[in-house]
Each structure stands twice: as C-alpha cells, then as structure tokens.
C-alpha cells in the first residue's frame, strides 16, 4: 500500500482534486456574490444542469469548446435574469423558487437530452494548458500549473472577487445591501440594481460551472451534476461568505473526495468500506466547520426580500 505515497500518485490525486473542486468553486463563488447582497439561490444545481446541457449541445454541434463555454455561461446569465426577476422584483420566497428552478433544470435537460441526442456522443476533452515556467517546477508544476484554463479561471476569480468585494464601490454596495438594505436605500443605492447584478453574475458562474463539469466529463448524462449545485451552496456557508473561505471549502471537498477515490481504487480502503469512505468529504466539511463556526455571522438579511415601507 506504500505506493500511494509515491510522488506520482500524490500529484495525480491532488491534481484530480483540484479539478473536482473547480465546478464547486465556480458555482460557490457565484452564490457567494448573490448571498453577500442578501439573495439565496437554491436553484444553482438546476442552472448548472442547464449550463452543462447548453455547453454540451454547442460542443457536440460545433466542436468548439470556447463556444460551448460561452453557451453555458450565457444560459446561466439568462437564468440569472429570471432568478433575479423572481427573487428581487417579485420578492418570491427564495428557497422555494430555487427548488422550482432546480426541478425545471433537471426535467428540461433530461427532455432535451432525449430529444436531441438519441445516442449521446462524447465531446472533445479540455486540453491542459501548462503555464510557462511555472509548470516545470517539480511536482508543484504538475499539480497546479498543468491544468485546463477553466481551472485557472476559477482560481483566478478568488482574488478578483475578493478585491471587488473589499476595494470597490460596487463591492461596498453589495456588502451594504446584504447587511442593511434600508440604509443603502436611504443613501440612494439601488438595492434592486445591486441584487440583480450579483444574482446574474452568480447564475452566469453557475452556468459556467455546469459547462466546466461537462467538459471534465466529456458527455452529458441525466442529472450530470449529482447535487454538486447544492454542495456549492453549502460551501458558501462553509466559506463564511468569503471567496477565500469558499475556495478552502471547495479544495477540502475536492481533494478529500479525490483522496478517497484514489485510496479506494488502490485498495487502501477495502471495497466493502468504500461507501462509508465516500462520506468523508461531507463529514469532514461539517466537522471542519464545527470548530470555527461560532465566529461567523451571515449577511443580516440573507433570504429576505427588501421592501421599502408604504
């Protein structure tokens, strides 16, 4: 069993974990933006499915992964517009409308898959893009810098969104709107506009997450996401509404998942215990949070539509 600890396996495991984490990360970063402004979107899983299917359709028909990525993101954007209209303008109960979107995405993608792909085909895989210089660092290079460009994009978004939230007027407005929308409103910040923007951004990222997942797998299948959208929402809570924390959660979840699968495949975990071992990412995520949770406060008006009195 010692061969697990060879560098090659370790590197492959971490690299695979990073890939596993990428769709979570994208979707969770998007959800973070929405939640920071006070909007909970439980429809992430449905939007990921729709984005993944859009990407699949375009990739299968055109062969272009760039167009496919754009399609997934674009579908997310449209769903974002709808979600924002429902949650912000129509002030619907956010938990329930999100579940509606989830059911819609789940059902519609299955219908479309049947209709458009009587015999599904695989699409071309995402090529790894080694980053010049960095990729030749021994071990580290293969773990972190020999990934596909969507992985880089996802991880690049972490500092970018951190900067946006903390250093820009837009980010300041997002934080204000999620904490005290009435106060933001009274100084002329449009709660509606801010929430629309964060929800649309969040859903676009969910669509992109779906496209990413699709390209990592190479084919669309019924319920492709397997609850990844819900996990992404959970990781926002794990990350305490901070991009860095969300990244930590995604990596924890992805790498633990990868390690478990690897140990199972290499027989370190006996087959009889493999289902039990598969619980590890979920259990560890909860336990990790138990030790730190007391310190975090959620955005004060999370999930509550804003209504100016009278």
């Amino acid at each position: 069993m010692s061969h697990f600890f060879t560098a090659a396996v370790l590197i492959a495991t971490v690299a695979a974990g990073i890939q596993l984490a990428t769709p979570f990360l994208l979707a969770a970063l998007g959800e973070t933006m929405g939640q920071r402004s006070g909007v909970v979107n439980l429809g992430v899983d449905g939007i990921m499915l729709l984005g993944a299917f859009g990407a699949y359709f375009v990739a299968a028909k055109t062969g272009s992964l760039v167009l496919a990525t754009a399609a997934g993101t674009g579908i997310g954007l449209v769903m974002g517009l709808i979600t924002a209209f429902v949650s912000v303008t129509l002030k619907a109960e956010q938990g329930i409308s999100g579940i509606g979107v989830f059911l819609f995405g789940l059902g519609l993608t299955n219908v479309l898959l049947l209709r458009l792909f009587p015999s599904p085909v695989t699409i071309q895989a995402l090529p790894a893009v080694p980053i010049p210089l960095l990729h030749s660092i021994p071990d580290i290079g293969r773990m972190f810098f020999t990934q596909n460009w969507l992985v880089y994009l996802a991880f690049l978004l972490v500092p970018v969104l951190t900067f946006v939230l903390n250093r820009t007027t837009y980010g300041m407005k997002i934080r204000a709107v999620g904490e005290n929308p009435a106060a933001a409103d009274t100084v002329g910040v449009s709660v509606t506009r801010i929430r629309y923007s964060t929800v649309i951004l969040g859903c676009a990222l969910a669509g992109l997450a779906g496209a990413t997942l699709l390209m990592l797998i190479g084919i669309f299948q019924e319920d492709l996401t397997n609850s990844e959208g819900f996990i992404a929402v959970a990781l926002v809570y794990f990350g305490a509404w901070r991009p860095l924390g969300v990244m930590a959660g995604s990596l924890l979840y992805g790498i633990v998942g990868s390690v478990v699968v690897t140990w199972k495949t290499l027989g370190i975990i006996p087959a009889s215990a493999s289902d039990i071992a598969a619980m590890a990412p979920a259990v560890l995520t909860v336990l990790a949070l138990v030790s730190v949770a007391r310190r975090f406060r959620q955005p004060a008006v999370l999930g509550k539509p804003y209504e100016r009195g009278g």
Binding site: R167, A176, N180, A182, D185, T186, V187, G310
Partner: protein, 522 residues
C-alpha cells in the same frame, strides 16, 4: 437661543419647504390626515406629539420613503415629487432616523461614502473620505474615528456618524427624528451645540422630540400632531410647557412623585462582587455590589456604556458572569438559565425592548403570555388553555390601557409606547419579587411615561423590590428612593434624591465621587 430673531427672519423669505395636505394611510391606520407643514430657511422647526401621532410618517414621506396618498411638497417654491431617498438627498434633504440607517459591518468611512460618487471611479476612495470626515469632525465638534466599524460605536457616536453622513452630502434641510431619546444629558448638550452650529451655517432643521423642555429650548417654531392631524403651529416664544402638553394629549399630565413613606422589607435582590464581560471581551462590570429591598425603588444612574446593560443581562441570566454572586429572594441564581432566574422571582424589562422583549410577528395576546405560557394557569398537560389566556390578556389590555385594535393584532403594529405598556403588563402580571427595568420610558410620550412611572410606584407599594436603570437623570430622580451611581462598571456612590442636587449626581456620573458620605448599603 435667538429664536425670536430667527423666527422673524422666516416671515419675509419664501419657505424652504412646504408640505400641503399630506395624507398617508396604512392598513387600518390613518397616519397622516391632511397635514400642512413648512420650514423657513435657517429655522429649527420642532415636531411634537405623542407616540403614534404620525411625526415619523410625515418626515418619511418628505424623505421619499413613503409615497403619500394625497398632498404636495414644495421646495424653495417649486413643486417636487420625492420618489426615493436618493431624490431627497439630491434636493438637499437629509434625515437621521429614529432607528439609525447604518450598516453595522461597514466602517464609519464606508458608511459615509456609500452611495456617493468616488473620486477613484470604480475603486473606493476611503482615504479621501476619511480626511473629509476628520475635517467635518473638527468643524462641528463631531468626534468619531473614520476607521471604526459601526458595531464598535456607542449610540451617541452612531448619531454623530449619521450627522456627518448628511453634512458630507451637503444637505440644506436636516430632519432629526427623536435624536435625544437615546442620549445621556451630557450627550444632549453636545448635540444641541452641534445643531446650533449647523443652523449658524445656514442649515434648516426639523427636530422631533417628546421632551417639552428640549423643544422649548431648541426650536423656533413648534408644530403639534395628534392622531395623524395637525393641531397647531406656534412660535416657541409664544407658548408654554403646559399649553404644549395640553395640545399634545388633550389634557394636562401630572408628573409622578414617589411618596416618601416606605416600608422596607427583606432583601429582594442582592448582587455581590459581580464581574461581567462586555461584548468585546473587556470587563464591563467590575466588582459591583448592590442590594434592593422589597418595597423600595432603587435607581441606577450613569452615563451610557458604564456597564448597565451587562449588569442587567447578568442578573436576568442572559449573560454569564465571570465571578460574583446574584441572589433573588434569597435564592442563588448566579449563571443560571433565564428560566430559573424568572422562576426565582425576577421580572425584567430590557433596554432593547423591540429586539429582546417582544416578538413583532406574534400577536398581542401571544406576547402577553410569552413568559407564562407553560404555567399551570395557561397550559394543561402541555396544551394551551386559550379561554383562560384570552381572558387574562383582555384584562391586562384594559388594566394597562394598551391601545391595540385587538388581541390578535401583531405586536409590531403597536406604537412604541404601547409596546412598552404591553411589556410592563406582562412582566408585572406574575407579582414578581424583583422588578428590573432598563430605560423604562425611552422614546415614550409624556402621558405613557407618567402611566409607567405610576405602575412602578404601585409595584413598590405591593412589596416588589424595584431596580430602575436609566440614563434619564430626571426620571431616576423622580421615582427612586435611593440612587446608585454607576461608573466604569462599579457603584461609586449612593445618593438620596430628596437631598442631593441634580448637578451633584451629574458630577458623580462623570466619575467624581461626591463629598457626601456614601451611605452604606442595606
């Protein structure tokens, strides 16, 4: 004040603001009924009236928070439609709300900068904003640290942030909704100085208050509202305290005084060498001891933030003490669950009553049995006895004169004074051994205040040990048998309100123990 001088100035010029026939309805309530209101340039115009009279509503209409059902607004003679606060700010109107409109998790500078165009485009320019804040702080004596988070600030500091926010936006008319309700006497003095300086610089102010002497001291003119209707607008110089009170409630209000005779009984509440940490981990109560006997009212006076809140919460079981001992009617309740403390005989009216003592979405009746819902009288085998409960609640509503459309009205819809009465009704209904009341009349109109004071005194007569914590020195002086002065988490002196002057106690509150010999406790 040069009220007369400024008042005459307004006669010649066109009004800065004119509101005509403003009507605003809420489901079941006519909050403003064809109200006329105007403000002259450079004037301080006070809005006066009892709880629920419609003062805040009128100003919220002006600020674009409520859309009036009828009526028009003119600014400098031009008719304007104010659809949102952003429009109001653009028109030079600023408002400081009864409940501050600040984002707790942002810094002072961020709160000030929010919604104002940044000099660095999409990036924040907090350095520049902070510099301007310091400038304004300096100009008007508004001391505040731009880098501090709002949640770290005291109430008085938050109010200063609100004023700076308005000044930063160059307003010409500033509305202050009950700005003094949450301030200590010293802070009120400071605020008045700031407001006077503002007017000197050409601003006009609308000042809302329940306190007659403040209104008389500060304003040029006074408009009185009652039940949504305007009763009158009078020049301050031309009216008297009695006339105002009469216009406000329709009759004279007698102030309550505690009868001197008292029969002291056994010790009701005993606190010894108590130490309690505050929210930020610093010790807020530092070795405090006190005794309250049944049949006496003990007042705790002190400036805001001297450890009053932590003391009250520790007694009520809501905050874990670091050390010390708390006894209620002889039973040790130190660190016990709030339920156990209540079972030992405590009734408690907290300072943050809207947050801590009522549940706005529950009905009046449900709030009245929030504490006693599991008592034998109201629940049998875990099932609520609705008949008994409703009868009990009807009785309390009548006895405490709680003005509500019905028992099933959500408590949220009641005015502040009536919510306070509801809480008193509930807390007193169990004949407690100890009654702990914090800021009993904060934000409450004169009539309701008088009623609450009267209840406290009659509770004393029934043999309850009453501990009143208040930052309103007048109140403490009026109703206490003994006054304990709290300073930095300790009782630094005790005074007899009949023999000690207001000024002497004010000095003690500032940390100067009086020359009078401290009466030993008990």
């Amino acid at each position: 004040m040069t009220a007369a001088a400024r008042g005459s100035a307004s006669a010649g010029q066109p009004a800065l603001l004119e509101m005509r026939g403003i009507t605003k309805r809420f489901p079941g309530v006519l909050a403003n009924d064809h109200v006329d209101f105007d403000v002259a340039p450079g004037e301080i115009h006070a809005l006066f009236g009892e709880n629920g009279a419609g003062k805040s509503t009128l100003m919220r209409v002006l600020y674009g928070l409520y859309k009036p059902d009828e009526g028009e607004i003119r600014l400098r003679g031009d008719r304007v439609t104010i659809t949102s606060p952003a429009v109001a700010i653009e028109q030079g109107i600023g408002m400081i709300h009864q409940h501050f409109m600040l984002v707790q998790t942002l810094t002072v500078a961020e709160n000030v900068a929010l919604g104002v165009r940044s000099s660095r485009g999409p990036l924040t320019d907090l350095g520049r904003v902070s510099a301007r804040i310091r400038q304004l702080s300096h100009d008007y004596g508004l001391k505040v640290d731009p880098a501090a988070y709002i949640w770290q600030l005291s109430v008085g500091e938050r109010q200063r942030v609100e004023i700076i926010k308005a000044l930063y936006r160059d307003v010409s008319l500033l509305v202050l909704d009950e700005p003094t309700a949450v301030l200590t006497p010293q802070e009120v003095r400071d605020l008045f100085a700031v407001l006077t300086a503002l007017v000197r610089n050409g601003l006009s102010l609308v000042f809302i208050s329940h306190k007659v002497h403040e209104v008389l001291e500060l304003s040029d003119r006074i408009t009185v509202l009652r039940s949504g209707r305007k009763i009158a607008t009078v020049g301050t110089a031309d009216t008297t305290m009695d006339e105002l009170a009469d216009m406000m409630v329709g009759h004279q209000v007698a102030t309550v005084r505690v009868p001197p005779d008292r029969q002291q009984g056994p010790v009701g509440l005993s606190v010894s060498d108590l130490r309690v940490n505050g929210d930020r981990g610093v010790q807020a109560v530092r070795g405090l001891s006190l005794l309250v006997r049944s049949g006496e009212i003990v007042g705790i006076a002190g400036v805001s933030g001297s450890g009053q809140r932590e003391l009250a919460e520790a007694i009520a079981g809501l905050r874990q003490p670091v050390s010390g001992r708390i006894e209620i009617a002889g039973a040790d309740v130190t660190g016990r669950h709030p339920r156990a403390v209540r079972d030992a005989g405590l009734a408690y009216v907290p300072e943050e009553r809207m947050r801590d003592a009522v549940i706005g979405d529950l009905t009046v009746a449900e709030n009245l049995i929030l504490v006693a819902n599991a008592d034998r009288a109201y629940a049998r085998f875990g099932f609520l006895r609705n008949r008994a409960i409703r009868q009990h609640c009807r009785q309390l509503v009548a006895e405490f004169d709680i003005r509500t459309p019905g028992l099933d009205t959500p408590a949220r819809n009641l005015s502040g004074g009536n919510i306070q009465k509801l809480i008193m009704a509930r807390e007193l209904s169990g004949s407690p051994a100890v009654l702990l009341v914090a800021q009993p009349t904060r934000g409450i109109d004169v009539a309701a205040s008088a009623y609450i004071h009267q209840r406290l005194v009659s509770q004393r007569a029934d043999g309850t040990a009453v501990l009143v914590i208040s930052e309103d020195l007048d109140e403490v002086m009026a109703i206490s048998d003994r006054i304990l002065v709290i300073y930095e988490g300790m009782i630094i002196s005790e005074a007899d309100p009949r023999t000690t002057s207001r000024e002497a106690i004010g000095l003690m509150m500032a940390g100067v123990p009086s020359g009078l010999p401290a009466v030993s406790q008990g």
